[in-house]
Symmetry: C2
Subunit: 159 residues, 2 copies
């Protein structure tokens, strides 16, 4: 029991979860997103502009990261933005996007930690639900995070 | 041919598509949303506050409506908001939500008109794709609008 507690304490110390900071570009944040989808290198200027645009939304757009403090690398990330509606007495809905865990470090529940962080955030700002889209092979992961399938996602590409 | 052209001209005159205006609350906008999901009556103050919050996003959050100019009622609506990402060289994605057509006036392609308006808007502001979630029974409608199924939608409710 002592060992388990100590291990999990060590892991918590090693893997710190927090909001994205502007210095995370140097810690491999963009390269990590490249494991999710096409993610060319972004110039410092473009990164800072987009970072600032998103930061201006405050609690309505949050990107969370997990930093491996041993390597000073970002090893997991995900984002949530808060949509404001008229339905349900001007309700809010959280949308989770772009969840990815470094393939070299999977199996340590870091994805679950990211989704939990984003879900808790949406709840704390008063959303009545959180939604996300995923491939069918990722369904079991999100079910472990407390999500259920509701409908289907449709898409139209312009490029 | 003349009749057909005249009819469609008359329809275009009768059903005007445009962005939501603050005066649309008096034209049954909230009652129309009630055909989509739970949508209690909203006070004028709450409506104006939410309207202003969304209007502050400018082109990043657009609600479109179709007004029946004969009855001065809102008979169709839908919204799109623009998510800004880091992936794909700081790309943008449009999210379509809350599409509904008055059940008394279906079969006149008004839903297709709304989705087209929102899709064109997302394209015009530089999105590389537009996504939306729908029940499987609405899939054929969105396929007619040029959408294809991509993945599944997962949800977690807080209430």
């Amino acid at each position: 029991m002592g060992d388990t507690w100590e291990n999990s304490f060590t892991e918590q110390e090693r893997f710190r979860i927090r909001r994205l900071e502007i210095s995370d570009k140097k810690k491999g944040f963009i390269e990590l997103l490249g494991q999710l989808t096409v993610c060319e290198s972004v110039s410092d200027k473009d990164f800072e502009e987009r970072y600032q645009e998103l930061a201006n939304h405050g609690d309505d757009h949050v990107i969370c990261v997990i930093e491996d403090t041993h390597t000073e690398k970002i090893v997991a990330t995900g984002s949530v933005f808060i949509e404001k509606k008229f339905i349900r007495n001007c309700a809010k809905v959280g949308h989770i996007e772009d969840v990815v865990v470094d393939s070299a470090i999977r199996g340590m529940q870091l994805g679950k930690k990211v989704v939990g962080f984003l879900t808790d955030h949406a709840c704390s700002v008063g959303c009545y639900k959180v939604i996300l889209d995923c491939n069918t092979e990722n369904k079991p992961f999100y079910e472990k995070c407390g999500y259920k399938q509701k409908s289907v996602q449709m898409v139209k590409y312009f490029i």
